[in-house]
Every structure is written in C-alpha cells, then in structure tokens.
Point group: C2
Chain length 223, copies 2
DNA sequence: ACCTGAACACCGTTCAAGT
DNA sequence: ACCTGAACACCGTTCAAGT
C-alpha cells in the first residue's frame, strides 16, 4: 500500500509537489475513486488533483482503461490473505474471499472495476493463486479448479457491486423497490411472495451461503 | 407496459418520420447498442438517429440510466422460456438460462447492462418468476430459492460480459493474455499450470458446468 | 403539449510547441 | 525527456424560447 521509502528523498527545491510518476498517478486515482466514487476516476480530475493538465498523464499511462486496471490492483493490495499454517483450507479460502469482499465494500468503486476490468497485476494474481492453492488442498484441481476460481471471484464482486448500487440514492434502487412493492402478485406470485428475501441484502450470512453453494457444488460435481 | 394502441394512428401527413415515443426511443437505442456496442447507447446518438436534438428525449425518458433499464428489458424480450409441459424442471431451467445467455451473446452491450443495471421491467421479472417456478418444482423454495436466483442470473451475465470484453480488440485482453504468457511460473505455479483452462472461454460445456455447480450446491445445502 | 437551440459543465485523447 | 496549452470530438442534462 504505502511506499515509505519515497519520503526520504525530499529535495528542498520543490516544496510539496512530488514529481509525476505512474505510482503517484495510481494512488491519486484510487483516492479520488474512494472519495468521489466511480465518476471520480477521470483523467481530467486526476490531473487536476495532481495540479497538471490531463495530457501529462499519458506519459505514464496508456489510457484510462489501463489505468483502471492498475487502480483495481492497487486497491486489492489491502487484502489480507490468511496464514496457511493456521486454519483448514476451507476456512482460509472463505477468509480470503471475505477479505476480498471487505476491500470491495470499503471502496465501492473498486467493485465496479472488479466486475468490468480484467484483473491483471500482482495482487489479483496473488489472490487467484491463493484460491487455487486452497482448492488444491481441498482436492479440487485441474479444470474444476480453473473454472471454479472464476465463480468464486465473481460472486464477491457482484455482491459488493449490488450493494453499492443499492446505496446510491439517485439510482434505480427506488425504481426497483417501488417496482417490487407494486409487483403484480397475480402475474408473479412467487416473486411477490419472496420480495423481502430478494430485496434484503442479507449481509454476511447470505454471502457465506453463496460461497458454500459454489464450493459444495464444485466438490459435488467432481465426485 | 406497452401501448400498442398507438400504431393505429398512422397519419398520412408524415412520410417516414414516426412521431417520438418512449417505445420508439427504446427501440432505436437497442438498435444502436446492437450496431455500435456500449458506446452507441448515448442520448445524443439516439437523438441523431431519430433526427432530433437530445433534449427532445427527456420528454419521454427521465435520464440515460432509466432508458438503459428499458433497453435491457426490451432486449430480453427475445428470450424463449420453454414450455413447462414439455421437459423436466431442470431441463427447462437450463434451457431458459441458455436462452438468456444467447440473447446476451447476440447483443454484447446488453450483457454489460445486465451486470450493471437493476433489472426491472416485465421480461426481467418474467425470467425471475420462471426460474423461481422451476426451483419450486425441484423442491427449492423460500430463502434458498430467493438467493439462488441471484446466483443463477448472475452467472450468464458475467459469462457473456467476459466474452464480450475478450472480443474487443483494443481491450485489455492483449494485456491479459500477454500477462498470462509472461506469468512468473515460480511465483504463481498453479495459475501458470492452468493458464490454458483459464484463458479459454470453454463454450457451452463450461457454462453448463457452472450452472450445474450452482444448482448442485443449492440442492446440497438444503438437505 | 410538444419540441428545439443553445448553453453549461463535463469527458478521453492527441499533438505541436515549449523547456 | 518531460511537460503543457490548446484543440478535437465527444458526453448528459437543463432551460428559456418557440410552435
């Protein structure tokens, strides 16, 4: 996350303005994403925050898409992957994915990136590798493992993103809730009957349930 | 929902230019989304296609977000939900989700909407209700059913969206593939070993596998 | 009631020009 | 080599003004 080595440099000639760098751009972008949400992630806003023009950023970064991938990975740096020595493979797997979820909750903009950006970068890869290791320990390997990771990573991202959409005030949540309230019970009887279960985010319990479902399914399929 | 009464009007005075309407706007928007992809879904482009200014659209539609929800639902109108009389609940469930997937494949822009837009509207609701019915037939109900639908709907959308990202040429696919090729086998040994399975889209087989996993998981969890 | 022009406040990206 | 100003080609949304 932090690079404390940098602070030692401190040339006297420049008062506060650090020189531009890829690292600094990514960090600034992530801060903007945290403070302003998805719309904060714009070349122009990042440039302004760094006190330059937008064109200056293109020296360090190819385009916004690439920058977004870096920001995603940088954000994932906060994850805590549990010590392998401590618990069962399953506990560790769940804890890792929970840590992933927490990062996505904390900075909802990252959840959107996780869903729409292809995760390259060391932290994404480390998480994937970690999950593959746990699945391997649990006896799940090869194709099952490869396809399973996808499912296991997708779920937290979508849960976090849905939450984020729900918390936006201007968003279509109102439309959704309104629509569920108005639900024509004769046309959609089951949906109408389950509307409370569907609308409620469900919290930790629901998330855990989903992971269990996926994992049980994977285990079941290969026997 | 739909106002079919309108078609009867047909005044001779206007040669080809239909009068503006919510329906027409949604249809035009969907065509643009099909032909130009996600960037085609813009108020200005829709307006231009309808030979007006963007401000005219706001008479019929609150904003782009709301319009997107309508476009999503309109696109889902092409789904074919299998006749309940014919097959087992499981076959019907899989066929319905496959039909959903096909619509999303055909118009990749819709996949992105499915992932980022809260699905209100008759066709979305009909699909949800249909799935709940099949699950009910299969003995899955209440909370399991409510939470399960979420998982079952999420999966096709993400599969289609991933595919769409993969097929974009300018996209980070290159970066992904390159990154997977360059994968440091000593740092991420399992990932490196599975890179072919992970990169390949896998097609129908993989999709079916994923649905089975989710369904098996749900069935397993409630016993 | 419906439509429009023009404006406001934004975007990403490029490129010639400066230091 | 690095940075910048200015421009290009776009956005969504609003609103006074017209018919």
């Amino acid at each position: 996350m932090d690079k404390p080595t940098r602070t030692i440099i401190s040339r006297r000639s420049r008062p506060a303005k650090e020189p531009l760098s890829k690292e600094l751009i990514i960090k600034t972008a992530l801060e903007l994403l945290k403070s302003e949400g998805p719309s904060g992630l714009s070349m122009r806003k990042i440039a302004k925050a760094l006190d330059t023009g937008p064109s200056s950023l293109y020296v360090y970064v190819t385009n916004l898409q690439e920058l977004s991938a870096y920001v995603l990975d940088h954000g994932l740096g906060k994850m805590a992957l549990p010590d392998v020595q401590e618990g069962s493979w399953k506990t560790n797997l769940f804890d890792a994915l929970n840590s992933y979820l927490m990062v996505l909750y904390e900075t909802p903009g990252i959840a959107e990136l996780a869903l729409t950006t292809i995760p390259v970068g060391p932290h994404s890869l480390a998480l994937t590798e970690y999950i593959l290791e746990r699945l391997h320990e649990g006896g799940i390997r090869s194709t099952s493992a490869a396809w399973g990771v996808d499912l296991l990573l997708l779920y937290p991202a979508s849960v976090a993103f849905e939450q984020a959409s729900r918390n936006q005030k201007g968003s279509p949540l109102h439309a959704l809730t309104a629509s569920y309230q108005t639900l024509d019970a004769s046309r959609y009887p089951l949906l109408a009957g389950l509307k409370d279960e569907m609308t409620s985010s469900g919290g930790k319990e629901r998330f855990h349930w989903g992971l269990e479902v996926i994992l049980q399914g994977i285990l079941n399929k290969q026997d």
